[in-house]
Symmetry: C2
Subunit: 281 residues, 2 copies
Amino acid sequence: MKIFDSPQKLQKELFGLKCDGKKIGFVPTMGYLHDGHLSLLRIARDKSDVLVASIFVNPTQFGPNEDLDSYPRDFKSDEMLCEKAGVDYLFYPTNEAMYPDGYSTYVDEHVLSQVLCGRKRPGHFRGVVTVVAKLFNIVMPDVAVFGQKDAQQVRVVQQLVRDLNFPVEVIVGPIVREVDGLAMSSRNTYLKGDDRNRALVLNQSLLLAKSMIESGESNALNVKKAMLNKFKHVSGISVDYVEIRNYDTLDEIELLDGIILIAVAVMVGDVRLIDNIIVWN
Amino acid sequence: MKIFDSPQKLQKELFGLKCDGKKIGFVPTMGYLHDGHLSLLRIARDKSDVLVASIFVNPTQFGPNEDLDSYPRDFKSDEMLCEKAGVDYLFYPTNEAMYPDGYSTYVDEHVLSQVLCGRKRPGHFRGVVTVVAKLFNIVMPDVAVFGQKDAQQVRVVQQLVRDLNFPVEVIVGPIVREVDGLAMSSRNTYLKGDDRNRALVLNQSLLLAKSMIESGESNALNVKKAMLNKFKHVSGISVDYVEIRNYDTLDEIELLDGIILIAVAVMVGDVRLIDNIIVWN
């Protein structure tokens, strides 16, 4: 495995491989890798000849009061995990290499990124879309794999690819969960004491929603009410949102029909967690 | 010369050539080609193995009260001129191909695009930067040539390339002028009657500025005053801006030192014209 910190050098090397007919697979991450990331690396590995991963805690997608400084980092462990997962190129740039002095260009998606997490985290998706555009230009992947855990991010990146004509196939990897159902996240490491147990209610609320729909419930409001009721009975939790939307447009829906995204974001203590499920009805 | 209207098909074909080791040269235009464009095509031809031109009157860079509908178009003439100039691939997409239904992603440069024309044409540079990002992804040029006539556009595109890591070399072609000094522009075709003569004052004001600086004037305000005075003596002209700025940062300067951009934008009747000169001092 080769490790690059220079965007220009990686770009040059990977372009050479691409022109030799190698299919480039790419998994962008913020590091502190867990089994969720590793599942994405496996998908990319299967779809490509050359596997590229990036580890970059992207400052532009964090708000001023968010956890940029405390975001968990462990490069030595990440390096080992990437090596084991068959990564050929690990891109590990500095902030200065990605956002040099006088940096002033940003990419915005103006529809899908306005709802859900976008409403609570202004500027978050600008940061995501901008860094993904940069990484796509640097890596020039044929295939890029993103996790369904960040469902809105997936939709926004798919829109970026379509709108700006990136020749990249976006593949979505399913959510990987702990044995007890908690969706894997680097932020789970923040959960202290009882909060780890309380956090199970995210997945439980989604499973409740799914079973209601499978039992014939067709009114989104009823499902939402039942989910909110579930959260109400767990102490130390404050709901940021519980939303039921069309997965394609991210529009709110009343009638449970089509491909449905059920997404939740809650504060467990002072840790913000998100989770979601997609239901075809 | 092959003509493509499909972004995807052109992208695929050019990528194949690029991987065969061909150097791709690119000149994006809005058509209605004149000698200015042809000079850019010559530069790109000399720097590349495969010459690509695009003709696309980009709707997103026109304001609601601007001349999108009346902007001059003549595809048959453009096609002939491109053929003669040695263009290998002419990209001539529809609005629908470039901005399909549900389009929602835009690229913004937030510093250089805020001054000069950006102040008077809100949204203009968003449109320019977005379409250039799209075109770069479609054509994947090694070299792209832009005209110095649109000096601010040059700086904004250079910033786009640097910030978003496009592997493209931007080359700037000098302004081409009519025999009497008027900078060539597709919009010159709008100039009726005496306005064509009045328009000469743009270039004359720039030459005055240059000669003042070469004679030792070091105060930008004095040069600006002299230029404004020149415009005052021509009827039917209203000045949009006369600006003296550092070419690199586009910051206003007082002391005439370094690489200096002197830029003017004026309304001649109801036609908006721009011109500029770069002076090293």
